[in-house]
């Protein structure tokens, strides 16, 4: 295919005005994150290479999820490519709602995709979505404030150390808060963080019989620890802070530490947006010595819904947007630090990319997350910061609202956990477990 289009391109160069016979217009639904907006801006390159046009439907994350889920569940056929995550891919793939990507051309080099990413986006060896960028979570901290507190961040800290450092760094009079963590309710917001963190505390969502475990002492410890820490060393209004709010706080120099997605590293070290660009250090997400670290694994990936009329063109787009060439294209236009991270082994072997300060820590974090064995105790599900069952998004969003209300001081930890336990049990029963 790639050879074919290249030949066509050659012909076009001669005939200047020609359009490939198979030119199509594909509709792509995507999220309004920086990397995707950059991709949107580079569409011209794709159109020049293949002749296909792209219509973008760029939506905020929550709206996007709602739209694509609705569309695929009802088989609306509105989109030729959907941007989905590591949570949706296995569920939809199992339903045969997505087109298999096992037949990508050799030049695509599917073996180059990081094993963790490829595994998380495959069902029984079939790749259903191609990772556009991948992430884990890690600690981003202010080197200057850490020094001022007289501490030194180890590469693999414990929660105990992090909590202690956070309290020492906090200086509320000057609007410096030791630690910024997600508090905004949502399965992809506070629950992504809390679920991953609970793994480090030895908690789990369900036991082997799918019984919810919010009544366990491990969950109580997780939630109490988190809320105490945030009350003492967190920013005001933490219960409405999500990824974006925390990013903005960190960029303004108001956070000592921030544990969140590894992709944030390129934003906080970008001098154009960040006031603290040259004072940021990185470390692995903390643990409590139980053998699991609280770092998640996520990818935003491009998938083709089954039944689209424009499968071939859609595959050409995926081949373009998730290829090695695309990484080089972005590097040439915007520099290596702005390349979509976390998808390809070759990127991390590239000496140019190794100079990027957060490259190594990102890769280490991704490699240390294991969705197939996320917890200390055994569980019947896969997923680090989520549970890969269709009901999870709905349940976790409601649980997240209870935890968020507890963080805001509107209810106690015990009340929040009791409500979480009840509503999870109700929803699981409604789903027929």
């Amino acid at each position: 295919m790639a050879f074919h289009t290249r030949a066509l391109l050659g012909a076009c160069a001669v005939a200047a005005l020609c359009v490939p016979a198979t030119a199509e217009t594909i509709t792509i639904a995507t999220v309004n994150n920086g990397d995707m907006i950059r991709m949107q801006g580079l569409t011209k390159d794709f159109t020049e290479k293949t002749g296909h046009d792209v219509e973008w439907v760029t939506l905020e994350e929550n709206v996007l999820r709602q739209r694509v889920t609705q569309d695929i569940a009802a088989k609306g056929g509105q989109f030729d490519i959907m941007t989905i995550g590591m949570y949706e891919t296995p569920i939809w793939g199992k339903q045969n709602w997505l087109v298999s990507l096992n037949d990508m051309p050799d030049s695509y080099d599917v073996d180059d995709i990081l094993p963790a990413m490829r595994g998380g986006l495959s069902v029984d060896g079939t790749l259903y979505a191609a990772p556009f960028y991948g992430e884990s979570s890690m600690i981003m901290y202010r080197t200057d404030l850490m020094e001022k507190a007289g501490l030194e961040m180890p590469d693999a800290p414990t929660w105990e150390f992090v909590a202690d450092a956070a309290r020492k760094m906090t200086d509320k009079d000057n609007e410096i808060y030791g630690i910024c963590l997600r508090g905004k309710a949502g399965w992809g917001e506070n629950m992504a963080f809390l679920t991953a963190t609970s793994n480090a505390f030895g908690a789990r969502w369900f036991d082997e019989d799918w019984k919810p475990q919010f009544d366990s002492p491990e969950w109580k410890e997780t939630l109490s620890f988190y809320i105490d820490l945030m009350n003492e060393a967190g920013p005001p209004g933490a219960s409405t802070n999500g990824f974006n709010e925390n990013l903005s706080l960190f960029q303004q120099g108001k956070c000592g530490m921030w544990i969140d997605a590894t992709v944030a590293a390129s934003f906080v070290t970008n001098p154009a947006d960040s006031t603290v660009a040259d004072k940021v250090g990185f470390a692995l997400a903390p643990d409590t010595g139980l053998g699991k670290r609280g770092n998640w694994l996520w990818a935003w990936a491009l998938a083709i819904p089954a039944g689209t009329q424009k499968e071939a063109a859609a595959k050409e787009f995926i081949n373009w947007a998730t290829s090695k060439d695309y990484l080089e294209l972005v590097a040439a236009e915007e520099g290596w630090a702005n390349v979509p991270p976390g998808t390809r082994t070759s990127l991390y072997e590239n000496p140019e990319y190794q100079k990027v300060p957060f490259a190594k820590m990102t890769l280490d974090s991704i490699n240390s997350a294991d969705p197939t064995a996320p917890t200390v105790k055994p569980v019947p599900y896969i997923g680090v910061q989520f549970v890969a069952i269709p009901e999870f998004a709905g349940i976790a969003t409601q649980v997240g609202q209870e935890f968020s209300a507890a963080l805001a001081g509107q209810q106690s930890v015990d009340e929040a956990l009791a409500k979480a336990q009840t509503l999870t049990a109700e929803e699981m029963e409604a789903a027929g477990y």
Binding site: I37, E55, V57, T58, L59, D71, A74, L247, S248, F267
Partner: protein
């Protein structure tokens, strides 16, 4: 008509009314001002009000990312089309209810209003399936129809209350002179009802323009109006107040301008029969 008041009282009235008016308008003003700031100025502490480096950069960025004119055009067609269609269907219905009332007229009117109480979220799935079957997803026709149906009860009700205030004797006189039903509606009723129709038109264009559930859920790329345009600027990564403000200003400006220019017409008929 005009009551005699002391200049002092008039001054106090003026000051109070202006203060409250500006207070109510402030969020919009602030959004417009912020749209001309840089992202850093947009969140500066203390906030800057007027003295900043005015920039059009945000508008350029927004325009570069999304084709504003396409969203705008869709909004115009969907809001305008659904309202016009609603008026065409609503005028005869309102006419017959106002001038040939029966015992059930009031019940029918209330029933029509009650269809507006169908919770949209609850019927999204059925409607979505229906739209797939009919091939109406992501089409302007489909959205125009849905918004027309949503607003039809309000349209009929507004027209009805307005028609009721037209004295029946005039129509009777026309009928004596041998006017047909068609002539009666076209040449006598309609001219008298123009203010009512105009304000019905305006109110429903506003309602349709601002409808954000169906317009977002039933569209993708082709028929997406400004409500979808806004959905790509709420909470992206990084600082976004200034860009959000620019996108917001672009989304509300057309309807705000229309509303201001036509506010006299809008207000004149916006009584719902409340004035006797």
């Amino acid at each position: 008509m005009a009551r005699a008041v002391t200049p002092r009282r008039k001054t106090i009235n003026t000051l109070a009314a202006w203060a409250i008016g500006l207070l109510i308008f402030f969020p919009i003003l602030w959004t417009i001002l912020t749209s001309f700031k840089t992202e850093a100025q947009a969140i500066s502490d203390p906030p800057v009000f007027l003295f900043f480096d005015w920039t059009l950069e945000n508008y350029a960025v927004v325009q570069e990312r999304s084709d504003y004119m396409r969203f705008l055009w869709n909004s115009v067609i969907i809001a305008g089309g659904s309202t016009l269609l609603g008026i065409v269907i609503g005028v005869p219905a309102a006419w017959s209810m106002a001038f040939v009332p029966s015992k059930r007229t009031k019940d029918i009117l209330m029933w029509m209003l009650s269809t507006k109480m169908l919770p949209a979220v609850g019927v999204l799935y059925p409607i979505y399936l229906l739209f797939i079957k009919l091939g109406l997803l992501d089409t302007r026709v489909g959205l125009t129809l849905v918004l027309m149906l949503i607003n039809l009860p309000i349209i009929i009700w507004m027209l009805y209350t307005y028609f009721k205030e037209i004295p029946g004797e005039i129509l009777e006189a026309a009928r004596m002179d041998g006017a047909t039903l068609k002539e009666e509606i076209l040449y006598i009723l309609t001219p008298m009802a123009v203010p009512g129709i105009a304000s019905t038109l305006l109110l429903n264009i506003i309602l349709a323009w601002n409808e954000a559930f169906w317009t977002l859920n039933l569209t993708a790329a082709k028929a997406a109006p400004l409500t979808a345009f806004i959905a790509s600027y709420s909470s992206p990564e990084g600082l976004f107040y200034a860009k959000l403000s620019a996108a917001s200003t672009m989304a509300i400006a057309p309807i705000l301008i229309l509303g201001w220019f036509s506010q006299k017409q809008l207000v004149r008929g916006l009584t719902f029969g409340a004035v006797k």
